[in-house]
């Protein structure tokens, strides 16, 4: 009786069993959201930040290193403070701070650690050690601060700060998390990936209360942190500091390069800032102050500031003119027929033109380069001539990046045919008479101090340069990108440099450079420049190298609003060169004079100073 019902009952059981298996198949095999949810539940990823690489100067002197600091964390559930007054005394916090922070921590989580006190120094850390037994539920975690041995190199070095929200979104390899520190400018930014090292990761299992329960998979997935690589720079810290001291009370740049290697010996941007104040808790206050300063102390002027090269550009004109075959050492021009003014002197040859920095000479020479002694449509000839000229000048690094290993290098402007077509809105709408200002380094041409120091190096090398760089070795192997080992030829034959160097020698000896810019026992050759500035006093420029034979240092000095090139830039350059070559300066009077010289324009006291500061950067 009813025996067939067994099968019906079992059929029902089987259907339920299959239903379960189906649902389980969906849960476990098809849908993977549960797997992720499980990892979020039970596995806590702990990031271990390694020490950032240190930075050394060319002689192995430490420039930047890390100082450990200690962050105090609390776990509200375990934290028992019997004597709040005692606690506040030990950690030097107010009662209000204690109550507020504890409440916030409790609101966040009773079982997860919350930051209680940031950045305790080693001394503070040591002093509270004995008291820690009285405060269960509080513990320290080590962190690190960038510490600066010298404050003279801040701009080129850059600084480290919390990653900005936009950078966080834009990052390529998804490495950074909110609150991570990252190099912001200079070499800290350029070498970020090698300086930062390899972050460590620990996977810890946690229970539902957030309490750690050991390593996940016995720690097989853990990665130990690897410290960042050290950077060995080519900076001569002594020279850097000396040049920096000379640039006090001035706005401008000093860039010194070793011509044979392209290594940057010193790079000063004035005014500068104290990088050590940009670490830790002061950051936001100090940063605000710097960012609003009209003198733009955060700007690294050598690769980023824009100036007209002024008369220093005549050196390029002399070289290019010879290479293109339009002028030679014997070419003589008088002042006649030139719209540009000059001092009273007779017709000069090329060497003499450089010595006295003759404007009409280079006007005529440039006219010849552009018009090529041909006849016909002046607009068409201007375009062909300018393009041929610009192609050669570009080899010197104008109008493009040199590739220096610093963040924020600016290209500058080398006006070519396309440029003027854009400015004058159309082809054949401009000719030589519109553009002749660039013959003497004025008008549309814009350079950075770094490019001019590189020009000095090119002339010192008689036709080539190695891309300027600050870091000469990375990590234990002290390796370096071959780009910074490979000479670049500028396309001007070595023989054409002789007359230019002769002219530069004359300029220093009995030309545009005054007595303060002469070093009695070193044969320095150089060229002054005065960069026109519609908004204030002209900028003083000087580029040079020394000694004349087998040059060891090429230098460019820009002093804003200091007027004529021979007045401020040349003496400062001569002091740096003397210091570098002799490791001492004998001309104490000159040294004292320029250490104390103040070229800060009065305008920096008022509202107008904002515009002036922009002038040096945007032109």
């Amino acid at each position: 009786m009813f025996t067939q019902r067994r099968n019906l009952i079992f059929l029902f059981f089987g259907i339920i069993g299959l239903l379960f298996i189906g649902k389980l198949f969906f849960l476990q095999v098809v849908d993977d959201t549960y797997e992720k949810a499980a990892d979020n539940n039970a596995i806590r990823k702990i990031i271990q930040i390694p020490f950032r690489g240190e930075v050394y100067d060319r002689f192995g002197k430490l420039i930047v290193y890390n100082t450990p600091v200690y962050d105090l964390y609390m776990i509200p559930l375990k934290a028992v403070v019997k004597d709040t007054n005692h606690f506040c005394q030990v950690f030097r916090v107010t009662r209000e701070y204690f109550i507020k922070t504890t409440q916030r921590a409790r609101a966040y989580s009773r079982v997860k650690p919350s930051l209680f006190l940031k950045h305790l120094s080693k001394e503070d850390f040591a002093s509270v050690q004995d008291a820690m037994v009285d405060f269960p539920g509080f513990f320290f975690e080590t962190n690190a601060f960038r510490t600066y041995q010298s404050r003279s190199f801040s701009n080129a070095l850059g600084y480290v700060a919390e990653i900005s929200p936009t950078a966080l979104v834009d990052q390529k390899d998804d490495y950074y998390r909110q609150g991570d520190y990252v190099g912001i400018s200079g070499i800290e930014s350029f070498y970020e990936e090698t300086l930062r090292g390899q972050r460590g990761v620990k996977y810890r299992m946690v229970n539902s209360n957030g309490v750690e329960k050991g390593d996940y998979k016995n720690g097989s997935l853990n990665i130990n942190p690897i410290s960042g690589n050290n950077l060995y720079t080519s900076i001569d810290l002594e020279i850097q500091e000396y040049a920096d001291s000379l640039m006090q009370h001035k706005v401008g740049s000093v860039v010194a390069i070793e011509p044979s290697t392209g290594e940057i010996l010193a790079m000063v941007s004035a005014p500068s800032y104290d990088a050590s104040l940009l670490t830790g808790n002061n950051f936001s206050n100090y940063y605000q102050q710097l960012a609003l300063d009209p003198m733009k102390p955060l700007l690294n002027r050598p690769p980023s500031a824009y100036y007209r090269p002024g008369s220093t550009f005549k050196l390029v004109q002399a070289l290019v003119g010879q290479q293109l075959g339009f002028i030679g050492p014997g070419t003589v021009y008088s002042h006649a027929g030139a719209p540009v003014k000059c001092h009273v002197h007779g017709p000069v040859d090329l060497r003499g033109a450089i010595r006295v920095s003759c404007n009409p000479y280079f006007y005529h020479a440039f006219r010849k380069m552009i018009y090529d002694n041909t006849s016909g449509d002046t607009y068409e000839r201007s375009a062909t001539g300018l393009q041929r000229w610009a192609d050669l000048v570009a080899n010197f690094g104008f109008g493009r990046k040199l590739g220096v290993d610093l963040g924020n290098e600016k290209k500058g402007i080398l006006p070519n045919v396309d440029y003027y077509n854009a400015v004058y809105k159309g082809e054949k709408s401009w000719k030589f008479s519109n553009i002749y200002s660039i013959s003497i380094g004025e008008g549309e041409i814009v350079v950075s101090p770094l490019k001019m120091a590189n020009l000095a190096a090119i002339i010192a090398n008689r036709g080539w340069y190695i891309p300027p760089h600050v870091v000469k070795g990375v990590g234990l192997a002290k390796s370096i990108d071959p780009f910074y080992k490979t000479p670049v030829k500028v396309g001007v034959e070595a023989k054409y440099f002789n007359v230019v160097i002769d002219g530069m020698q004359d300029a220093v000896a009995n030309g545009t450079v005054g007595p303060d810019g002469k070093i009695p026992d070193i044969l320095m050759v150089g060229k002054t420049g005065t960069s026109q500035n519609q908004k204030g006093k002209d900028h003083s420029i000087f580029i040079a190298f020394a000694p004349r034979d087998n040059p060891k240092i090429a230098i460019a000095v820009f002093v804003e609003n200091a007027g004529f090139g021979g007045s401020a830039a040349a003496p400062i350059a001569s002091l740096v060169v003397e210091k570098y070559l002799k490791r001492k300066v004998d001309r104490k009077a000159v040294e004292t004079k320029f250490l104390n010289m103040n070229y800060l324009p009065n305008a920096y006291g008022g509202i107008a100073r904002k515009k002036l500061a922009i002038d040096s950067t945007k032109k």
Partner: protein, 429 residues
């Protein structure tokens, strides 16, 4: 009878094998659920016997004693004393509100020293025995209402008492006796109505009453159109049919009313969690959500024995008791749970086969009672861990941690095995 000397020869060792296998596997799961990778406990450590795994070992040991006791008792005892056992349990159920203690919010436990016993767990066995004894009377015909209501009374009394002590889950287990009754001749209409009731009940939660009515009207329409093919077209059929339909509709409205007015808020929410998995994942849905995460994270092959992270670190509440299936799901993956489900179905099949080989209706009915109870636990327990059933405090037989549960299932099973071992001694009626 002298055959009791050869009990081992007559015992169904296949069933015993299933039992031993389930108990062993169950213990390993409990061990894994309480295992802490930070501080694994060794067997020699006294603290081990304070953990669930250690305690379960004690429960397993005492279960063996129970088995021996059951096997040495005369097989006729269970039939003869069924009424006394049943009445005794009823007394305990009545006494529990006055003498019992509260554990996990249910006031249904007796405490003896450190051991706690839940009489509701044992009431199932007593009810199965009495029901089987009642059906043993050849005059009892379950197709007749006069017998049906008596059977219903046997099931109903302990059920009401258990609901009284706030153990709705345990009370619902008694619904499983419908399988026993069906096998013993209850008309198929009853389980059909029963299932229909469940469908109506769930629908009442899901949709508005008028939608249910509309669907029912449509179904009726279809029935009226197609019925004449199979049935005689006489007015009586139509009257009967319309009566049935009217009854169902009244039932639908009644269920809707019960769901929305009689059920308590937390009961409604438990069912709501089931229907809407996203409902309150941190609060009411927490257990289901975490349970599904644990099982789902096991993948195809599982994380390996002791390798689970969800079940180990207390993410799933009631891990070693009601939610022990999660550990299997997480550590042994789809392959493990599938094998387990198939094994359990095989076990049920074996029991049904044994029950049908009984010559006495008492033993057969009891066997089906056992199958029904085991299946109900299987259905609800696994169903709730994977979100197909509402959360109820119902353990997985032989797997879940807990003395009452293990003892009651052991007694339930071994009484049947004892009866089975004497099947040739019993009279077929």
């Amino acid at each position: 009878m002298t055959d009791s000397n050869h009990i081992q020869g007559r015992l169904d060792w296949i069933t015993v094998g299933f039992y031993v296998f389930f108990i062993g596997l169950g213990w390993l799961n409990i061990y894994s659920a309480v295992y802490s990778p930070d501080a694994p406990l060794s067997f020699s450590d006294p603290a081990f016997y304070d953990s669930n795994a250690g305690k379960q070992l004690v429960w397993i040991g005492t279960s063996l004693v129970l088995i021996v006791c059951i096997l040495v008792i005369d097989f006729r005892f269970f039939e003869s004393f069924a009424l006394f056992i049943y009445l005794g349990l009823l007394l305990l159920l009545i006494a529990v509100p006055f003498l019992g203690v509260t554990i996990n919010g249910s006031h249904s436990w007796f405490k003896f020293g450190s051991a706690t016993i839940q009489p509701a767990e044992f009431a199932k066995t007593a009810t199965a025995l009495l029901l089987a004894k009642y059906l043993n009377d050849p005059l009892v015909n379950l197709s007749k209402f006069s017998y049906q209501w008596k059977a219903a009374l046997i099931i109903g009394i302990p059920m009401v008492l258990i609901i009284g002590s706030n153990e709705t889950g345990s009370a619902l287990v008694f619904a499983s006796f419908i399988i026993l009754l069906y096998r013993e001749g209850l008309p198929g209409t009853y389980p059909a109505l029963f299932m229909g009731g469940i469908v109506l009940f769930v629908s009442a939660l899901l949709v508005k009453a008028w939608v249910i009515l509309l669907v029912l009207v449509l179904l009726t329409g279809l029935l009226v159109v197609f019925l004449p093919i199979y049935m005689q077209r006489d007015p009586k059929t139509y009257v009967l049919l319309s009566g049935a339909i009217a009854g169902i509709m009244t039932l639908a409205l009644l269920v809707d009313w019960v769901v929305n007015n009689v059920l308590k808020e937390h009961q409604r929410n438990r069912i709501r969690v089931l229907i809407d998995p996203g409902f309150d994942p941190r609060g009411l849905g927490y257990q289901v959500t975490q349970s599904k995460i644990a099982i789902g994270s096991g993948g195809f092959w599982g994380k390996g024995f002791l390798g689970g992270t969800q079940t180990k670190f207390d993410f799933v509440p009631e891990q070693s008791t009601d939610m022990v299936f999660c550990t299997i799901g997480e550590e042994h993956g789809f392959i493990g749970v599938m094998l387990m489900i198939l094994l359990f179905l095989g076990f049920l099949w074996r029991l049904m086969y044994l029950a049908d080989s009984q010559r006495s209706r008492f033993a057969r009915a009891y066997g089906y009672g056992l199958v029904g109870i085991l299946f109900f636990h299987f259905l609800v327990n696994i169903g709730m861990t994977i979100g197909l059933m509402p959360i109820m405090g119902i353990p997985l037989p032989f797997f879940s941690y807990g003395g009452s549960s293990l003892w009651s299932f052991t007694i339930l099973l071994f009484i049947f095995l004892k009866l089975d071992s004497h099947r040739s001694d019993m009279l077929s009626r």
